[in-house]
Symmetry: C2
Subunit: 360 residues, 2 copies
């Protein structure tokens, strides 16, 4: 079975990647020395219909099971859902040796992971990603909920015990979800592995009927980049910040449009275009932006900022980004494909470029 080992300061674990590997969940759990006293499956309304029974049927004769289904969508990463899930955990007597399964995409992983991080000061959890986007979010232990004043503002670092990535669960994804997850894959290439970026450009020109073996390779290579960065810098004191390429404007777009109006990755793609254009100005370099945009459009991405956005509001939201230090915006900029760094950027430069891009 394909496997990427993730080694962080606080924990080492494996990401298993293979079509059909969900069926191996039970034997994998059974191999643990310290068996879970009970299992709390957290999923969302979309995934529950498709895959919840498959997971429960494997486990039900072996562990006491508790389940909770949150509404599908980013709005579920709220204080209200967080408290509600903790209440379910307490009402069902979960203890410190209980375990949480996050069955779903990034939203489920983030909120279930934050519940696991804070319930009784931290219990174990396992990620079973069901989206392409979750190939990024399920690795590295960042868990969080949103605040109306900013995305992922309340959270923790809490690594899973393992990640079980069955590409067969992705077949049901709508196209914009492919685009959402794929953005994190080409971002991994752009920040430090130019060959991977080239490989993606050569191999992927559509998400329709994607070959499973190709998808497995994509997942393995993309996760390997993430794992390497997280191993070096679990708590984002340095190089892990590079993963935020495209995210400063991307998060602001999501916040300004209202969570769930545009997928995360589609917003990040716009953020990457923005970061590349700003990089060209500030570093006086030439980046392959047009070629990049053309590829994105072929894959169905919108490469223009939505006209309903306002430059001043986007800037104000960017100033609440977690990378902001003493009021100064810090963004990931690119010197060439495969080489990025964090820079403090004058907000006037940002405002001017956003206004320009809104006018195009």
């Amino acid at each position: 079975m394909r496997k990427v080992a993730v080694q962080t300061e606080s924990k080492s674990y494996d990401v298993w990647i293979e079509a059909g590997c969900l069926h191996k969940l039970l034997p994998m759990l059974k191999s643990w020395k310290k068996q879970p006293t009970s299992i709390f499956i957290i999923t969302d309304s979309t995934v529950a219909e498709l895959y919840l029974d498959r997971v429960k049927n494997q486990l039900k004769d072996h562990y006491p099971l508790v389940e909770a289904v949150v509404p599908a969508g980013e709005a579920s990463k709220s204080f209200v859902e967080f408290e509600q899930l903790l209440t379910v955990a307490l009402e069902n007597g979960l203890d410190r040796d209980s375990m949480i399964i996050a069955l779903g995409g990034g939203v489920v992983g983030d909120i279930a992971g934050f519940v696991a991080a804070t319930y009784m000061r931290g219990i174990r959890f396992v990620q079973i990603p069901t989206t392409l986007l979750a190939h990024d979010s399920s690795v590295g232990g960042k868990v969080a909920i949103n605040h109306r004043l900013g995305k992922n503002m309340i959270g923790a670092f809490h690594q899973p015990e393992m990640v079980i990535y069955d590409p067969e669960l992705l077949v049901s994804l709508p196209e914009q979800e492919w685009r959402s997850g794929f953005a994190e894959a080409f971002k991994h290439g752009l920040i430090q592995v130019p060959e991977f970026y080239q490989w993606l450009q050569e191999k992927i020109d559509s998400f329709v009927d994607l070959d499973v073996s190709l998808l497995e390779q994509l997942l393995e290579r993309s996760i390997a980049v993430k794992a390497e960065i997280v191993a070096e810098d679990e708590k984002e004191a340095g190089v892990r910040a590079h993963l935020n390429l495209g995210h400063t404007l991307g998060h602001a777009i999501e916040t300004q449009l209202g969570y769930g109006k545009m997928t995360h990755g589609e917003a990040v793609a716009l953020g990457i275009i923005f970061a590349m254009r700003l990089s060209e100005q500030l570093y006086q370099v030439k980046l392959p932006i047009n070629e990049f945009k053309q590829w994105l459009r072929q894959l169905g991405y919108d490469t223009n900022l939505p006209k309903t956005l306002q430059a001043e509001s986007l800037l104000a939201t960017m100033k609440k980004d977690k990378k902001v230090n003493a009021g100064i915006i810090r963004m990931v900029l690119m010197k060439e494909v495969g080489s990025v760094q964090v820079e403090e950027v004058d907000e006037k430069e940002i405002l001017t470029l956003i206004e320009k891009m809104l006018g195009e």
Copy 2:
């Protein structure tokens, strides 16, 4: 200046203990290599009146300050306060290099620490304890809020950068607060340092006009026990659980009476009496329970369970304790003074003894 070094796996820091040392807060902060971009002082309504200005006056010309005052009392360790404090942090633009000061007792330390643990996935915080009880809670990094189904159920391990313990801030404490904090001190003696327990019995027969030098010694010795245990076992995988002596029944008493009706330490003292009596039965040993109770009564503790409590409800709450595993209650029991261990205890034994003690 008296100092206890706390070395945990995740962080090392100092607890400073000296009458008047609050005045050294500014130079201590100024010695940090990575200066805070802003400081968020969290305190409660009682402490704010007494000491908030003293802290602000020292810092206001040097750092941007934000403040929040929560109502005094355990009820402030709620989801609502937690969310509210995070909102204040976001509205005032706290960033990853901002810092939180927890100015107050255990309640303030717990909620301010949990805010620090989760804001942007964790920022730095400093503890300035203003109660005797906080000598225990401010060391070791346990932070939490309460859930209606149990105390400290939602939390994290998040170590402070330093603890500044100025015994002069304790002079204003009401007597039951002395009793509350003192219980953690004799607990430290009972679990592993019999000489310290003896020393306390010899030196402390009243909390009125306690000598400051005696108080400093008490704090230093009690904190040293805690620091040693936390150094060995930060995440409570082993020996740290011994610190829960008296807490299984103690927490249940607090929950059943309603938070704030009896101080934490007074409930723990009852829990310790209970644990000692259970230990005598189960280990067939003789413990100095009568002498202990006599000393407690001299210090103003009630050594009988409040008659309004019900045995069945207490047991039900004990079964929600964080040490419970697969439904079985685990308690810290004592073989002799200075030697304790965690044991699984049959709930019938617990019920019978509670009923007996309620009848006394």
